[in-house]
Subunit: 248 residues, 3 copies
């Protein structure tokens, strides 16, 4: 996790050697960093990016999922995603997402919870939760808010099929898709630069109306974490994760 | 109406010689069959299909509409669609829709209420209710949930224009569109087979969150049936149906 | 402002020499005209159009924005858009929008609040409010209802980029886009003519269900006008408007 600020633009970068998958510790740090950027006076706009030029984020860490033995531990782990999404939602500043590659599971949730996602055409997406006996319960509200009920259901039910970047753009997950990393970065810079010179009062008021109707998510996402937390301890999930780990 | 189950996949087929239009009796049987499949332990996933290789469903039976003389009879008839949609909504298992051809009126409602619709490129759609002096009141909530307010309004206002399968796919009504019946059936088999081996607990929990916010539909769709039930007894509707029947 | 009725089709036309921008007086007249058409017995369907062959509507009048000195005055001015949108929403008749050209700011709001928008491929759109230190607060609910949260946010955040007519059609703002003014007018005539012969009872009931869930907008849009009314008096906005006026 690094974060640096320049000319009012706060760039937060997370990373993990396993395709930017998220263990609990990383989720915790990310939520804190976003919360901090939201209250930091010099910060006018935030860019959320991840390390490397492959996956943007491959979701929950399989190592950590495999180590969960009780519903309590499971709920605690999935609450990590809830905290990050709620931090993004509460943050009074716009968050631009830099989506350089694939998004899986919780990674689709992070890409959904930014205010403006700019991607490359390598950014295919998949909600693969059902394949390991759980479901996109915690990230669901953020994904559904962005792409609608129909696209969210389809994505979650057909858990083994990659959806193209073009699909994600048409459904509204990505505001822009670029053919190259350079094109993406140029557009991110243009927008971040403009926003860093825009009225902070107007942007804070806009952020609030964009997220109107989600005031209950502090509670809702906790409830959702409990659903995932229970399912993840099932025999079905244990075996599915063991198989995936054996393959990779 | 037939229904058979194989390897956890419960295939429900309805049919009617007049382009798979729906008289009240057929709607009643369909609602019961779906309810039954939802409680049937061997059933892991449901495929909803219709007979023949032409229309998927052409909506309300014109013969039956023409025979309605009172608001009470009208409300009773339209409640048939309400019961089917509510049965699909309450069913704790995913329903895959096999949409081989045109959908009209209530047929668009059935296609909307499945959890994952797979169609061929022959599946054009039309909400033709207004052309006979009624409106898509009962199926409206299901259609709007799937394709959004804008597309639903446009479809219902321009009641005489067919919308292409591609339009329906882009708006989210169909999750997939295939160039051939074989392609459609292959994809349905692939998905149904995968789901029949997926965690029933996870799927039941997902079904619930997909339909979150529709808990009032038991009441709402009844109220909607009463609106259609009243309009269908108007002189406008009587004459429009007579004209349509004379043409065909 | 002119309005004429022929064969049940009530055509309301507004206009302003500066790219059909809207001063408070014009908004007031437009709201009254729409209200009148809604209660006028001969009127079966309404066409909303604007003068000329260039912009459909370029939003709030910059001259009037520049003259606002107090939050009270600002709130009063933005309430003008609230009244027009609420008049369209309450109107029991379908409103077809004739969108011949560009829509900016409040103009996107008007295009969103019609029930069925038919445009030409010249009708690019932009929500430019943030560029002058305010935001699309009053028109926001109407735009979001039509194109969804994701598209609305993207449009409002990237306040300086024109979105193409094709983008607007795909997002649901325009039900149809035509290559020529003739094509647009032909389609408008076809639909208006059909609706003028459709059941007024059915259409009034449909209008009601299309706008279900917006019953609180009388209050909501007033609150939104107060947000814009306060922001517009800021030093940021004063300077931004002065710059824009100097350029043009």
């Amino acid at each position: 996790m690094t974060s640096h600020i320049e000319h009012g633009i706060n760039t937060i970068e997370f990373g993990h050697p396993q395709s930017n998958s998220m263990p609990g510790k990383l989720l915790e740090h990310l939520a804190k960093e976003i919360h901090h950027a939201g209250t930091h006076e010099e910060t006018k706009v935030i860019i959320l990016k991840s390390a490397g030029d492959k996956a943007f984020c491959s979701g929950a860490s399989f190592d950590e999922l495999a180590s969960i033995n009780t519903t309590h531990e499971g709920t605690h782990f999935f609450s990590g995603f809830a905290h990050v999404i709620n931090a993004m939602r509460h943050c009074p500043k716009f968050i631009i997402g830099r989506i350089q590659g694939k998004c899986v599971g919780g990674g689709v949730g992070l890409a959904s919870a930014v205010d403006y996602a700019i991607a490359t055409n390598k950014a295919e997406i998949k909600l693969s939760e059902l394949a390991i006996g759980i479901g996109p319960f915690v990230v669901g509200p953020a994904v559904e808010r962005k792409i609608g009920t129909a696209a969210f259901s389809a994505l979650a039910i057909d858990a083994t099929t990659w959806r193209s970047t073009d699909w994600a753009r048409r459904k509204g997950l990505f505001a822009e898709v670029h053919d190259s990393v350079e094109g993406m970065d140029e557009s991110i810079y243009r927008l971040a630069n403009t926003l860093s010179h825009s009225s902070p009062e107007a942007m804070a008021a806009m952020k609030k109306i964009f997220w109107r109707g989600t005031e209950h998510w502090d509670e809702l996402l906790k409830e959702r974490a409990a659903i995932s937390g229970k399912l993840v301890t099932s025999e079905f999930t244990k075996q599915a994760i063991a198989k995936f780990k054996a393959k990779s």
